[in-house]
Amino acid sequence: MKILVVDDERDIQTLFEQRFRKEIRDKSLEFVFAFSGEEALTYLQKNEHEVVIILSDINMPGMSGLELLRHIKQIYQNPPPVVMMITAYGDAENFDTAKKYGADDFLTKPVDFNLLKEKFKQ
């Protein structure tokens, strides 16, 4: 199962690779990383059907996570990838907008990885 992680913080890659090192080792999960919304869209265009889950930060310079979400849900409808939003602000407005744009899930930072693992299993 391929997961695309989008965040402008570079250390997020090390963090995910470490926290999911077992899953990566036994190849139950595969991670790719994009460090901006634009980069994520370019990746998706090239590898449309590979990515199953997209995890995106909301506040990023340039294209925000919410815009990325809107684009993804508009372009890729068959089959739609699962998009989970991660944000530092757990405010209602972000949550509502994310839901309106069709986000499948909403997580707040700091990320609870045990919870995230549970969600991936589902």
Binding site: E9, D11, R19, G62, L66, P110
Partner: protein, 671 residues
């Protein structure tokens, strides 16, 4: 049926300017127009025309007036008095509502005679209501009072309590304007004793509030005003709502709460502008000019000018002539003309007496001056001396007051920019925390794994894991420090400046504030987006500045730059909606750069926003100058920045801007 019609009219005349809902009116309009085309030229057609006008009311004033005018002409041809009354009354109410009083009078004065010929109590009542309100708002109070009492007289014959409370309130409102507050209070209480219906008594409640405000019963006034706002919103009565907001603003100004005053006046202006309510707009500007009198003479002057412009529209010379000519042209009331003539004669007599008295006084004065020239001169000098001393005292007092106000305002500017920062800080801190928490959890797991490998005797694997742990530890440390720096920066910003220069990494400072400003804005406005670019000269190293002060300057310039590009995006968007032509692509960009010039350091903040228009370019550093909508900017950001750079650091703060291309602010700090 009659009562319903009366109530409908009542809602309008409640000195009311009620906007009706325009949804679904177009289809109704079409069907009425169709009915008119097929109708016989009788009173039915007049009623249809009137109804057509009602439907145009909130959509198109011109068509509203045209339908009513057509109805009027038809009614006159048919001798259909009710139709004539309704068309005149509806048009008069409209003109009165937007402050075009001569038109209102021209329409309503002929009704007096018509009502005498065709006696009808409710037509008389409403005719006099209309005339009373119009004369009251022109400022001819005896006339207004006369008609208000006449309205009350016919009103009583109708025997509905709604109407009586209305008549009493109108009388109260005239007395209020005449400054006869005891009578005003009496009549408004009378009005209240008949009971005020929710949703249609806003104007009466507002009148009560005004009377209490004028009699200095501030608490009661506030209670009534707030009640009135509630009721007027409920009744969708824009004109009186604007009035109530103005009065609230005025009352807050009186008790010294200028911020609240500004908020309410702004609300009033918004409505008055939208519905072209000249009188209300005039009042708003007048109150604004009073508020700014103590804050900023330039703004006060500006608002006074706006008020005068609005007043010119209301009571200009031309209009006054119109009032007079309508009154006479109608040749309605010869008695009145006679009375006026009598008044005029009296006035001439009074003027004559005054002139005589004046001449006499002058003669006496000249004699006194002759006699006492010397003594007077000494006395005059003494008096002048006293006056000067007095003025000096006053000036000193004003200066002290100004100083304390200034320090308060500087504090509030600091708090405002701190508010902008808070959201950014929340975001900036969650990110490093995310890493600290998660990397430390990973490390706990990794240590377990390492121990297992060691138990197995697999030392190579254990060593590899230990390397990961070490790397993670470094990351934890790095992100911990990052959070620490953010908190320290926030504390520094809110603390009063230490005034002590420290060796500071100017690039790091600029970068931090750029991110904070960006996230702060994003937190407030989710749709906001802009490209940030940095171009830092690493050869600068650390320079000696007061970090919290220079940080504040940089933050200020960056926030302004973001604001500029954001407004540019908005205006371009608005333009593109109006025009069909495609606009070239626009990428809102803010660039922060530093440069080492050898004997000084340049920090520049550049944006590609709308630029600063030449006429205001030399005003932007003045205290309180702001282009932001009222309430959004303190107008102190740039003036404080200027002070910090020039006085605090011996540097320069400059601006270069070309309209339509953007602006660049440069801070030059000597090394």
């Amino acid at each position: 049926m009659k009562t319903i019609r009366l109530k409908f009219l009542l809602v309008i005349i409640l000195c009311a300017f009620t906007m009706k809902n325009s949804d679904g009116q177009t289809s109704r309009i079409d069907s009425i127009r169709h009915l008119i085309e097929t109708s016989l030229p009788d009173s039915n057609r007049v009623n249809l025309l009137l109804e057509l006008g009602d439907n145009y009311y909130s959509i198109d004033p011109e068509l509203f007036l045209k339908s009513k005018q057509d109805a009027l002409l038809f009614s006159q041809k048919l001798n259909y008095v009710n139709g004539e009354f309704r068309s005149r009354f509806d048009m008069a109410t409209y003109w009165w509502g937007i402050g075009e009083y001569p038109n209102a009078l021209k329409l309503m004065l002929p009704m007096i005679k018509l009502n005498e010929i065709n006696k009808n109590n409710w037509r008389s009542t409403f005719t006099y209501f209309s005339l009373a309100s119009t004369y009251r708002d022109i400022g001819i109070y005896p006339e207004a009072l006369k008609y208000a009492y006449l309205a009350q007289k016919y009103n009583k014959l109708l025997e509905t309590s709604d109407m009586t409370n209305m008549a009493n309130a109108v009388i109260a409102s005239v007395y209020y304007e005449m400054n006869n507050l005891d009578s005003a209070l009496l009549y408004i209480q009378k009005s209240r004793s008949y009971g005020w219906t929710k949703g249609s008594s806003g104007w009466q409640i507002y009148t009560a509030g005004r009377i209490y405000a004028k009699t200095n019963q501030v608490d009661s006034a506030f209670v009534f005003y707030y009640m009135a706002v509630d009721d007027l919103i409920r009744g969708n009565n824009k004109k009186d709502l604007a009035n109530t907001y103005n009065s609230l603003g005025s009352l807050f100004q009186k008790i010294g709460n200028l911020d609240s005053a500004l908020v309410y006046i702004q609300k009033g202006i918004e409505i008055a502008k939208k519905d072209s309510l000249s009188k209300e707009l005039y009042n708003s500007y007048l109150i604004l000019s009073v508020i700014y009198e103590k804050r900023n003479v330039d703004s006060a002057f500006y608002y006074l000018k706006s008020a005068l412009a609005a007043k010119e529209k209301l009571y200009g010379q031309e209009k006054v002539e119109q009032f007079v000519s309508y009154k006479f042209n109608e040749e309605l009331q010869e008695q009145e003309i006679k009375a006026t003539e009598q008044q005029f004669k009296n006035r001439i007599r009074i003027y004559g007496l005054l002139v005589l008295a004046g001449v006499f006084l002058m003669l006496v004065t000249i004699m006194i001056i002759r006699n006492n020239q010397k003594g007077k001169l000494t006395r005059m000098l003494q008096k002048q001396k006293e006056e000067i001393q007095n003025q000096n005292k006053q000036l000193n007092q004003t200066l002290t007051e100004l100083k304390s106000t200034q320090s308060q305002l500087i504090q509030s500017e600091k708090m405002a920019s701190l508010g902008e920062l808070t959201a950014g800080i929340a975001h900036e801190i969650q990110n490093p925390l995310n890493f600290v928490n998660n990397f430390s959890e990973v490390n706990t797991e990794l240590i377990d794994e390492m121990q297992q490998e060691m138990d197995k005797g697999n030392l190579i694997e254990a060593k590899a894991i230990s390397n990961d742990i070490k790397e993670n530890e470094q990351k934890i440390n790095h992100h911990g420090k990052r959070a620490d720096a953010i908190v320290k920066g926030m504390l520094q910003h809110s603390r009063s400046s230490s005034g002590v220069k420290e060796l500071t990494d100017i690039n790091k400072l600029a970068d931090e504030y750029l991110r904070l400003a960006y996230h702060g804005l994003r937190a407030k406005d989710k749709s906001f987006n802009a490209t940030m670019k940095t171009d830092f000269d690493e050869s600068i190293g650390k320079i000696d500045v007061i970090p919290q002060d220079i940080g504040r300057v940089i933050l200020n310039l960056i926030t302004n730059a973001f604001y500029a590009v954001q407004t540019h995006v908005e205006t371009r968007h608005a333009l593109s909606l109006q025009q069909t032509t495609q606009q070239p692509d626009y990428d809102p960009t803010v660039i922060v750069s530093t440069k080492n010039m050898g004997n000084n350091v340049i920090i520049s903040v550049r944006d590609n926003g709308p630029g600063i228009p030449a006429p205001i370019r030399d005003k932007i550093f003045q205290p309180f100058f702001t282009t932001k909508p009222s309430g959004q900017g303190t107008g102190l950001g740039l003036s404080m920045s200027y002070e910090i750079v020039t006085k605090g650091h011996g540097g320069e703060l400059k601006v270069v801007s070309r309209e339509g291309e953007g602006a660049e602010f440069t801070i030059i700090l000597p090394l």
